[in-house]
Symmetry: C2
Subunit: 707 residues, 2 copies
């Protein structure tokens, strides 16, 4: 009878058939045999299985240890509890795939040890917030632990006797659910990624343990009124384009509980049609997360972000596999899966590995896009311009999104520029040494507030040496930038937005264009930043660059024997002033050599403009800040003013072969022909041609003309 | 008859048979058919041929251009003449391998164009020295041009009619030979790598054109007395271990003309037994060049050196192919050839590609070695300690060599430390932007003298804030450090040397040990630096590190709002003082996070010691210096003093998986038990064991004991 059920179920029926059985989340009972067969057939699944088995076997070699919680992030007890849930999940899956008892017994023994001591633990001694975590210093990690552990439990459910199940559910999961949904109920009910981890933990536990009360709370909040919980989070945390308001780094982080919980709901309660919720929101969210990466695999480090986070991270392995197998995402996701070099050993991973083995992978489709922010899609957004293939693409990122909550930076109209698989104009990211306990317990350091978030740390305009919204998050949350225009043409891509509230009485508008002149090897990045004000202000526009300046052919006064911090607040206390330059003529030029390629920025200048060369790292008694470099176009006193520049990637410098080509830029001249509230017109001389670009800000149908 | 000769000749006869024929250098007439066949059989040769053909075909697409010499390094005319010799060689070889006339015609036409204008050119307008180059700004580049061009000529020799040959030899090669051996005769007769390029150019041209007079000059100097020329250079520029006195970067550069000219001599005059000269010196030189690289492929950047130069560079492709095919070097060279991803399309490349295809490649044999410097082997040397496989090897490099002529740095007893395929304690290398014309024409910038060469820029002791030998090259040439001891044991490798003349009245002695304690994952780097002096001096010992400090648990006073240069001479004017620390107890600890691994240096300290945190980049009005960081162990006034430290690689920090392990070092204590002129004894507490290391400096048989 059981056999027949399995045979009848097949892949398509897994959603229903699985729900009454264990396991039923990523790996499902009815698909275990298919996955096992796939392991012998599809290289990526095989490789992933081997790696999983290695982890599981390693876990079995080590005595089980459930330490009393003690350390902050990166510390021994912290890392051990993390390791434990990973080991349990690996062993749980191995049990399903091999039926070898030792794997199940490992999970059972460890769960029983946790069950035996969990209730004796006091609140975590290094708790980060109130009431704080129990197993970890922050509640968030406790939630993550449960999200993984419940999957392991699901895998050994049938192996555990009823007595052990009772013990584990009563002495461990029940108190954990209470810890998450009641003790830390405020987080549970938050519309925030921490809340998502919390509801996913409780909801998944509810499904697996058959506790509908937990599921209901998870879906609709503890008050069961729908004002909190998973559905409210789906409604409010994502834009209609699937953009997560905290930014790409947290989108990556949050996507795992969203997709895992969604998959669980889909398995147990397909009638909910969670994948179709908000017109297939979660599928869009996966695509949007990937669109927010560069071809070096790294997420755009907007807002608080660790800069080395790539789409190889586990969360995106889940996202890609589930989106491909469950949501009908395109074959270009297989390219990402190939680069991840693994799949989940699961129903979804089977589908991905099979499709790759069948030769279906296509290059990931990076596209120029405007991604809307805000639940209503009206809170600004992220503009991404891209030109070239996935090998050496030029990419300009325009941050015109809303504040993004507590991890948001004061960086509206910020520009990031990538080329040749490298950062060119970069964002500092977060001031944090993740999981390095000696650095503030692995948490954000205080310079994240005083430097990382401040406007000066970004490639956008600073007015009167103050940060946008005076660095006040709440004020920032009240307004969002406005999209003016986004379009692409045969030889250009353009995005334009304005921000009228960041500085009182000043309208900011920035327009970025990737423009490919005739016969050019790479597109030009054209940048027009208009500030409009009745009063005079100091305007500072930094360009934080990677690489080394190789040419700045204008008068530069360097501070050679002593340096001073640039100021005393809003991040200016964290910048050293290395040198100040002055351009005599109508435009200046700065060339940078970065990753064997040259980048020449030609900018309009007048005699009042100063070019400041600065380095981050002042005011840093604990060595928390990296030394990054910027040139700052600075206008000491201006009302209406436009910063206009063109950045040209050119040439090659091969240090191994000792060959340099194309060291001279092709942009020979840059002029501002018109500069009005309603229009900007500029002229670029490139090779032997002269191009006139007109921006007609109030004219959507011909916003840009290039002649 | 011809066919029979070819068939009889085979590979082994190539040396004799080739000499009367064209071509006869890298690609030889009797082997052309074998190489052509090999291209169809051996993947690496095939790939290399395709790349060569692509270059040749690209050359044919472009109109021939022989510009009037005008620009410095990296400039347009400079790069064009470089390109031309590369194109000619590619086309010459393609002609031999395809017999397609268009390739030969390209070489012929270009040579005739050069012949038509060469004599009309004045001395180079940007000449770097007197009399200076003609085609290029320095004579050196003219020599390189001829070394490549004569090979191209050799390839099309038979194609050119006698009339064209006469024209080219009379109007181009004769004046070039005169230019090199007479006009720039001083360089030609120099015992220096520039001299080697010069004699190789003239000698190879002599063999190909049948001009014995040119060959004789090249071998024995213009006076034909053997005091100059190739043989004298072989005698004097290399140590008996094949170390080239200018250091690894220039060893790489010089090895090409040495090997190419040697191969030419071997082809035309095998009785000279040039490969056996000085007991197989050139073969040793190739191995020594490779031993002077790290597992990241990069040459140790000792003395003036570009830091991104790897053994993938063309010179080392020649060196590896010739050493393997002609000199019987081991199969571990095939590993290097595989990583170079190409071979020369030639007799030698055929042998390499075949051996690789036959599965003969073995990992390159990096070994702990003491490499002697000086023609007599008594001018100090380079000590290299290595532990671990080629994947993530720990490697300490000890510079105890002689001055190394004009490119030498004042860095005796300098230490470089590598681990995990990364630099840990690094050397600045040269202050130069090679081939970047806007940076002093691509030549060394003035900061190479004031910073790059100065002692402070290195990981060795600076006394009284002055450089060794007061920065005087001639004084430095008078003395060399002395090896005290080099040996390896079961769990250690040790090298020790002294330098008694760098500072008047002060004896410097440094001992480096790679020591593997029981159960350690990586070896400890133990560093004992003794200074002995009757008078008191300021001693500064910098550790220039890569990565970011994550822990310095002692009192640190940071300069947060202003910085000053550390001093006003000997490089101190180029260092900013960021912070000063003071250790209370007997030892201090600094941890650095570099490439996802931790490095903790534990050092003996007293209350007088100051720990200075510095950054290079002061006194740099033209942005020529990179910002590198060091901590400096500084003793304000000491006579006899020993700096003792232990650096431990530990743990892992994986930012993608967000896992940190082993963040706490295992070295728990460090004590100096004895510190005498004849002996140092120290105690290291590692994990739960205590090790006592005794250095008995006057006892060669038991120089080191570890208990």
């Amino acid at each position: 009878m059981k056999m027949i059920a399995i045979l009848l179920a097949g892949l398509s029926m897994a959603t229903l058939a699985g729900a009454q059985q264990h396991p039923s989340i990523m790996l499902t009972k009815s698909n275990v045999e298919a996955v096992k067969k796939g392991i012998t057939q599809y290289p990526l699944l095989q490789k992933s299985f081997k790696s999983l088995k290695k982890d599981a076997d390693k876990a079995l070699m080590t005595p089980i240890e459930v330490p009393q919680p003690k350390d902050g992030g990166g510390g021994a007890s912290h890392e051990k509890h993390k390791r434990n849930y990973q080991d349990m999940l690996a062993c749980g899956m191995l049990y399903q795939l091999t039926r070898e008892e030792r794997y199940a017994k490992f999970v059972q023994d460890m769960l029983l040890q946790y069950a035996a001591v969990y209730n004796s633990w006091p609140r975590h001694p290094k708790k980060k917030q109130n009431p704080g975590g129990k197993m970890f210093w922050q509640n968030l990690n406790d939630c993550v632990w449960q999200v993984y552990t419940i999957q392991a439990y699901d895998c050994v459910y049938d192996y555990l006797g009823a007595a052990n199940r009772k013990k584990i559910e009563t002495d461990l999961f029940e108190p954990i659910v209470k810890e998450l949904s009641e003790v830390n109920g405020e987080i549970f009910n938050k519309i925030h990624n921490h809340g998502t981890w919390s509801v996913a933990a409780v909801g998944m536990t509810g499904y697996v343990c058959g506790r509908k009360d937990w599921v209901d709370k998870a879906l609709r909040g503890t008050a069961l009124d729908g004002k909190a919980g998973f559905l409210a989070q789906l409604d409010q945390l994502f834009s209609p384009d699937g953009y997560y308001t905290e930014g790409p780094y947290y989108q990556r982080y949050a996507i795992l509980p969203f997709l895992l919980f969604a998959r669980t709901i889909q398995q147990y309660h397909p009638a909910q049609k969670i994948y179709e919720y908000r017109e297939g929101l979660l599928k869009k969210a996966v695509n949007t997360a990937l669109q927010c990466t560069y071809t070096n695999k790294v997420f755009f480090p907007l807002n608080d972000a660790m800069k080395d986070k790539t789409y190889e991270s586990e969360e995106i392995v889940y996202a890609v596999d589930i989106a491909f197998s469950d949501m009908g995402a395109g074959n270009d996701l297989l390219d990402v899966a190939e680069q991840q070099q693994r799949v989940l050993v699961s129903d979804a991973g089977l589908a991905v590995a099979k499709a790759i083995a069948d030769g279906k992978a296509a290059p990931f489709q990076y596209k120029p896009v405007w991604i809307r922010d805000g639940a209503d899609g009206k809170q600004g957004g992220i503009g991404i311009l891209r030109s070239g293939n996935n090998g050496g693409q030029a990419c300009a990122v325009f941050k015109a999104a809303s504040q993004g909550m507590g991890h948001g930076h004061f960086d509206r109209l910020n520009l990031l520029f990538y080329d040749n698989n490298s950062e060119v104009f970069s964002d500092y990211g977060a001031v944090r040494f993740l999981n390095v306990e000696t650095k503030n317990g692995g948490n954000y350091t205080k310079e994240n507030e005083t430097w990382g978030k401040q406007t000066l740390a970004h490639n956008t305009l600073v007015v009167d040496r103050q940060s946008q919204y005076l660095g006040n998050e709440k004020k920032g949350e009240e307004h969002a930038p406005q999209l003016l225009h986004f379009s692409t043409g045969a030889n250009y891509q353009v995005v334009s937005a304005q921000e009228n509230n960041a500085y009182s009485g000043i309208q900011l508008r920035r327009t970025l264009i990737l423009f490919m002149p005739e016969g050019a090897a790479a597109p030009l990045l054209v940048d027009v930043f208009n500030a409009a004000s009745q009063e005079k202000h100091q305007y500072d526009l930094p360009f934080w660059y990677q690489g080394h300046i190789t040419n700045s052919p204008f008068e530069v006064q360097a501070n050679t024997s002593s340096l001073s911090a640039l100021g005393d607040g809003f991040g200016y206390q964290h910048a050293w002033l290395n040198a100040t330059g002055k351009v005599k003529e109508g435009s200046g030029v700065i060339t940078i050599l970065n990753n064997k390629r040259f980048y020449t920025t030609t900018f309009i200048a007048d005699t009042a403009m100063r070019i400041q060369f600065i380095t981050s790292g002042a005011g840093d008694p604990e060595f928390n800040i990296r030394n990054e470099k910027a040139f700052v176009l600075s206008q000491p006193a201006a009302g209406n003013y436009s910063f206009v520049s063109v950045t040209e990637p050119h040439g090659k410098n091969n240090p191994v072969a000792e060959v340099t080509t194309g060291a001279t830029p092709q942009v020979k001249g840059l002029k501002l022909l018109r500069d009005e509230a309603a229009a900007t017109q500029l002229q670029i001389e490139h090779k032997k041609k002269v191009y006139t670009i007109t921006l007609d800000y109030n004219n959507q149908s011909s916003f840009i003309t290039i002649k």
